[in-house]
């Protein structure tokens, strides 16, 4: 009797989640229909965004989101792993506890504050120091870096996003590393491996699926981040693959234009971008799940 009530309640609540996701999808679909009716799937790769002429395309924003989130992950993953390894393996308690506190504090900072910091501190530093440094180093020959210009760029947004996702990836990776059985680590040590070798070749290998999922969750956070990105990315409307130029993201364009969108097709185009973002997150999570299933043989 009590058991069936319990099952009914929890079942209903679980369904609620599915229904909500379904409704979000439905609303996004209905709201964006004019855009799909006008351009079909080519809306995704059209590059022009001109509200005055009524021309809309999503590619600059998709590219901006992927470029900034991808770069954020590239920067944040090694740093986060370093923090996680330090915390589980090497740091004495006197260092560990304050460091955990600081990392968790970073996760609690509102994103608008990150945005403010980006405007007042990071953007000038990117303009004055980071971009000239990269341009002068061998990295400057990479086609993703052009001529250094103003401080509001894809790079600035990437750096902010990296800092924002470090706490997530670091704390999840730390939990993953702590779940690796002690006898794995000791097995490597007993063979005359150094602590670093045991960490690198045995513990990290054992936890690779868990670390991968931490990275996917971090990437998901970066994809959806709006405020800090909007404040630092530069909000240009053209397609660019140059990290030294101002760009735009799916979240930023919606936040910037939805309130002022005058025409129906403009609103529909913005909602369509929201739908693409929703789908992108969904696909990313599915890929993450799939790969976790494949590499987790034996590991976490």
């Amino acid at each position: 009797m009590g058991g069936s009530w319990f099952r009914l309640t929890t079942g209903a609540l679980a369904c609620l989640v599915l229904i909500t996701a379904g409704l979000i999808f439905y609303e996004l679909w209905m709201g964006s229909r004019p855009a799909w009716e006008q351009w079909g799937l080519s809306f995704i790769w059209r590059t022009e965004w001109n509200p005055v002429r009524g021309e809309f395309g999503a590619l600059p924003f998709i590219a901006g989101t992927l470029l900034t989130s991808g770069m954020a992950l590239v920067i944040a993953l090694p740093v986060s792993l370093g923090i996680a390894i330090l915390l589980t393996e090497f740091a004495p308690r006197a260092v560990r506890d304050p460091l955990i506190f600081i990392v968790e504090l970073l996760a609690a900072v509102p994103s608008v504050v990150f945005g403010l910091w980006g405007i007042f501190v990071l953007a000038p530093v990117v303009q004055g120091t980071v971009m000239p440094f990269i341009a002068g180093s061998p990295l400057g020959y990479l086609p993703i870096f052009g001529e250094p210009g103003a401080g509001y760029t894809l790079l600035t947004a990437s750096l902010i996003l990296a800092i924002m996702i470090i706490p997530i990836i670091a704390s999840l990776s730390r939990e993953v590393l702590m779940t690796v059985p002690r006898d794995q680590r000791e097995g490597a040590l007993a063979l005359g491996c150094t602590r670093w070798e045991a960490m690198r070749h045995v513990v990290l290998a054992y936890g690779r699926a868990g670390i991968f999922s931490a990275a996917v969750l971090g990437l998901g956070r970066a994809l959806g981040e709006t405020m800090a990105t909007t404040m630092t990315i530069g909000n240009s409307l053209g397609l660019t693959f140059d990290y030294f130029e101002a760009g735009n993201s799916m979240t930023a364009i919606i936040a910037n234009e939805l309130r002022e969108a005058a025409s129906e097709i403009h609103v529909a185009s913005l909602v369509a971008i929201g739908l693409i973002l929703f789908a992108l997150s969904f696909v990313l999570n599915s890929i993450g799940r799939l790969i976790i299933g494949r590499v987790s043989r034996g590991g976490v």
């Binding site: 308690r93 006898d183 097995g187 490597a188 007993a190 005359g192 491996c193 070749h201 054992y206 690779r208």
Partner: protein, 253 residues
């Protein structure tokens, strides 16, 4: 390659304020099997793990006294832990092959870290230690399969082969058969018998028949102290201490 002697002098191990090993003087003779027996919590595993400095990585643990490998004091500046553990290998209670590596990689992993690079050398080593561990015939056709596909007993023999691959002088075994079925246990015991010509072996066991079958010397631990040490025959047939007799006849523990 000669097996080496180990010796402890006034060895004490503390976890926080608790003294788990209380001043043990003991010899582990070269080329023989020494069994360490005693009831749960008597400090036998703690003692064994101090012989290859496994407590170094436990924050609360502290070791005092002396442990000698040959004539070098492994704790007081005589040897760093990496160098020590290459000479003093360890097999754990539960088989712990590295699940992300193949059978072959489990064996070659440590030798490669220590500088063995040539393919043919590594190949020879894999065969040699798998033969020593009496596992070669069972796995020679699937060396590149994941190690976790083996049965528990095979995994434990792989772990023994893996320990032999760094060419230790001493092999420490912490209840190596306690997670295995009787057939697999018997194979491990036969293996221990075969290995003692070339290695000094210390084995912790809670199974007294096992101690009687495989060992030349037996040490009885109780409450962190070494109560009695002697030839296995004597300990089991004619112990000097009343506590030893009570334990081996099954009156406690």
């Amino acid at each position: 390659m000669m097996p080496e002697r180990m010796q402890t002098k006034d060895l004490r191990v503390y976890f926080g304020k608790t003294e788990a090993v209380k001043g043990v003087d003991m010899e582990i003779r070269p080329g023989a099997v020494t069994a360490i027996i005693g009831p749960s919590g008597c400090g036998k595993t703690t003692f064994l793990r101090s012989l290859n400095r496994m407590h170094d990585n436990t924050r609360s643990a502290r070791v005092t006294g002396h442990v000698y490998l040959g004539d070098r004091d492994i704790y007081n500046g005589g040897m760093n832990p990496v160098e020590l553990r290459i000479r003093v290998g360890m097999v754990f209670q539960r088989p712990n092959p590295f699940p992300t590596m193949s059978i072959r990689e489990n064996i070659t992993f440590a030798p490669r870290r220590h500088g063995m690079r040539r393919r043919s050398d590594l190949q020879d080593l894999v065969e040699e230690v798998l033969r020593q561990a009496a596992l070669w015939d069972e796995v020679k056709d699937r060396l590149d399969d994941p190690a976790t596909g083996l049965s528990g007993g095979q995994q434990q023999r792989l772990c023994i082969a893996r320990a032999l691959a760094v060419r230790p002088k001493v092999l420490l075994m912490d209840e190596p058969a306690s997670a295995l079925d009787p057939t697999a246990t018997q194979r491990i015991e036969e293996l221990i018998f075969d290995l003692k010509a070339e290695y000094t072996i210390a084995i912790v066991t809670h199974n007294m028949q096992q101690a009687a079958r495989v060992s030349d010397y037996t040490a009885f631990f109780y409450m962190g102290e070494l109560i009695e040490f002697g030839e296995t025959d004597v300990i089991f047939t004619n112990p000097k201490e009343a506590q030893t007799e009570a334990y081996i006849t099954g009156r406690f523990g």
